[in-house]
């Protein structure tokens, strides 16, 4: 069959753009600058209805996290979930490429957007997700005092 000319890829969510290189976009209110990731009816901050697409910085700082050990069926655990401050825009995502324990993850760490594959569907289309992975930093002590893993 000629189905496989070029394997197609789709982003997990529409605010992840794969071209030219993977990045996130937000709906930015032209009146007040508030940013949103979901489809909008109006601006929750100022009631404006005019939005532009704004690229979100692909590097940021980990503002908070949790290590989820107990989740709904079908979700592999443990994993690290967090909120990343990308130049003032808060982004939700998993922290990947790091052991999921409090010795290796700490608030304030620098992170960069990275993509993940969810695999192909029945028609061969690959879904691409995203997470954030640590940017190499000096191996300093963290402010966490826990010994629990």
């Amino acid at each position: 069959m000629t189905q496989s000319a070029a394997p197609t890829r789709v982003p997990l969510v529409d605010y992840l753009r794969l071209e030219p290189s993977p990045h996130l976009v937000a709906h930015e209110c032209t009146n007040c600058g508030a940013r949103f990731f979901d489809r909008r009816n109006a601006c929750a901050a100022c009631e404006g209805t005019d939005f532009v697409e704004a690229a979100v910085a692909s590097e940021g700082t980990l503002r908070t996290f949790t290590i989820v050990s107990f989740a709904a069926p079908g979700i592999p655990v443990p994993f690290v979930a967090g909120v990343i401050d990308c130049d003032g825009t808060h982004v939700r995502g998993n922290i990947i490429g790091v052991p999921p324990d409090a010795d290796h993850v700490h608030t304030g760490m620098r992170l960069r957007l990275a993509t993940t594959s969810l695999g192909p569907d029945a028609e061969g289309t690959e879904a691409i997700g995203f997470g954030f992975t640590p940017i190499a930093e000096s191996n300093d002590a963290t402010d966490q005092t826990t010994e629990e893993s």
């Binding site: 529409d14 940013r35 901050a45 996290f65 989820v68 050990s69 909120v83 028609e123």
Partner: protein, 401 residues
Amino acid sequence: MRATDDIWILGISMTKFGKHPYLDTVDLAAEATLGALRDGGVSMADVGVIAAGCLMGAGLGIGQALQKQVGQTGVPVYNVANACATGATAIRTVVMALKAGEADIGLAVGVEKLAGAGLLAGASRKNDSSTWTPHGRYGAVAPVDGRIGTETMPGVFAQIGMEYGHRYGGTSFELFARISQKNHAHSTLNPLAAYTKEMSLEQIMNDVMIAYPNTRPMCSANCDGAAAAVLVTGERLASLSDDQRRRAVRISASVLTTDPWEPGCQVLPDVNTLTRNAARQAYETAGVGPEDLDLVELHDCFATAELVHYDNLMLCPEGGAVDFFESGAPFRDGSMPVNVSGGLESKGHPIAATGIANVWEVATHLRGEAGDRQIDGARVGLAHVIGLGSACGVHILERAG
């Protein structure tokens, strides 16, 4: 005295929280309602308005089902749902009706059966479909819980506590566990709590990790229970007996808020701003400050949440929640006892009952009827709940006379 303009608690009651395998939600709501009516010395025939909540049974009309067991008088019922703030919303609804002059006695009731319900996850995630097809407001081709962060309650509230640590420092797994240890210790004096066993720090930290840094005993306890309150206008109260007037508890402030827009509030729920706004409005309305409070029941749905609400309710200076806890203030022998009932972590959290049960706890201390766990001389107290979404209820109560 401004007595006649105020709304008062005339009668209030809660069931034992825990497992009630042989009682349904109507049985529990009826037990709390009959208890509150008896406590207030009135009957359903005196009640002019009812607000009722049962979050897991929303749509079933718990208010009417209750009437059919304890008294069908034909008065209006408002079935309310506002996540974990449902009980406070029921009280708030009755307060508004009474203030508007629509009735002079009203009933607020909340009930839930949650024993054995497991964790309060977000939506349980659906399976992936056979093709990646965009759905919903994010155009998601597959469920995102676990793929783009977490939607579980323990995970969301863990991040809320960790964010506080990021902003102000001083938090640790052990600190959050010690908050839980406090509440489990408090519950040993509360016969109506679902769990009444003291837990050591080691037990808490070594228990099953749910979402770091919250282990199982640091999460609210799912259980069955109900609570009900009969409220009365000051004018009607003035016509009641000496004993009813003596035991009545003044509702000095009844406030409900939602989230004002803040950057990032749609990414991680901001439970701070609306709680701070509710507290500020409540203190202003009541004409009291945090320093006047003798006890506080706040929404410790997770140990990580209790910490941030010390700050949000202004029990400490901004950023000072860790120091506040370390000072011993929120322990029952401290300067500002918090969750002497055992809180949601140990007393339990039958969702729609919670926002009335915490008012019962405060009212019972103000009446001097809290037995072994009485906070001596309590005159003013605050009850707080928050439901994600979000809704925040704050009630400030004062002893009569």
